[in-house]
């Protein structure tokens, strides 16, 4: 394998993530996995603390404290889950608004890097990235992790394979 391509993709990815993180910090005033948490909670299938923990790849206590921050910022509410142990995380109105800003900021950051390419080049790039992602060997949790910042208003058909991966239960 030629290593030049790996170095190029590494450099590009760093630039992309730098810009996304900078925008996210400006929007929510927090760093680390906090912006991703806001997005994940907003996907809205009754997210629990523990599911969130696995998606973000944090420790249990780290996740509890992260949610504490979101609650103290009035972006998230803890409600009772069906299972008496679980906590159901819900966005407040303000949390949903911040989440939308966050998603828009992310798309805008990446777009500003992409718009030097022609429409044809972007299409070609999209096809290649789609193939690359589609062929990865990812568990279900891996997919949620990779997609933890994804814009569900934009990503209609996620290329990540849906077959593998043991369901978490």
């Amino acid at each position: 394998m030629e290593h030049g391509i790996a170095n190029l993709l590494g450099a590009l990815s760093l630039a992309v993530v730098d810009r996304i993180e900078q925008g996210a910090r400006e929007v929510v005033g927090r760093g680390g996995e906090t912006p991703a948490a806001l997005i994940v909670i907003g996907y809205g299938q009754g997210m629990t603390n523990d599911k969130l923990r696995r998606i973000l790849g944090l420790s249990h206590s780290g996740t509890v404290r992260l949610v504490d921050r979101l609650v103290s910022d009035r972006l998230v509410e803890r409600r009772a889950g069906k299972d008496g142990r679980e906590v159901a995380l819900h966005l407040t109105a303000s949390g949903a608004a911040s989440r939308n800003e966050l998603l828009a900021s992310r798309i805008s950051a990446v777009t500003s890097l992409l718009d030097v390419l022609s429409a044809a080049e972007r299409k070609q790039l999209a096809r290649l990235i789609r193939e690359l992602l589609a062929r990865q060997d990812t568990s279900e949790m891996d997919r949620f992790t990779i997609c933890r910042m994804c814009d569900d208003r934009v990503c209609t058909n996620c290329p990540l394979p849906t077959s593998k991966g043991q369901h978490g239960h």
Copy 2:
């Protein structure tokens, strides 16, 4: 502009950076900008604390403390710079070894994502990324920042434009 491509590149970049950071933490036992600092210092044109600060995008004090950590880990030495104010940062033998491990780990992490593509597809992707980077409007400092994790043993001709950007002095 079609936003699907921006979302795809954002997701891929997150996956790439996640894997790079995880490997880096395993190699040097440190997170944040510490691994990048080790790589940047290793480029070896008499790196100073202040240049490092600008490349990493950290505050001044944050950079001093970062170097403190590298020194206490015996990876970096502070020597006298030509200008009596400056500190010249140099890798120790152990620092140079860690840096090589770091670079290898990074290339390996990205390669493991890339190797689902055919050689032809990888070539196409390399061409597109190269174009994308070449057309960015980056200052000299931006380029060092984007390339702060780059493998100088692999990246022979960096696509980033070298014309613009005021030299820092």
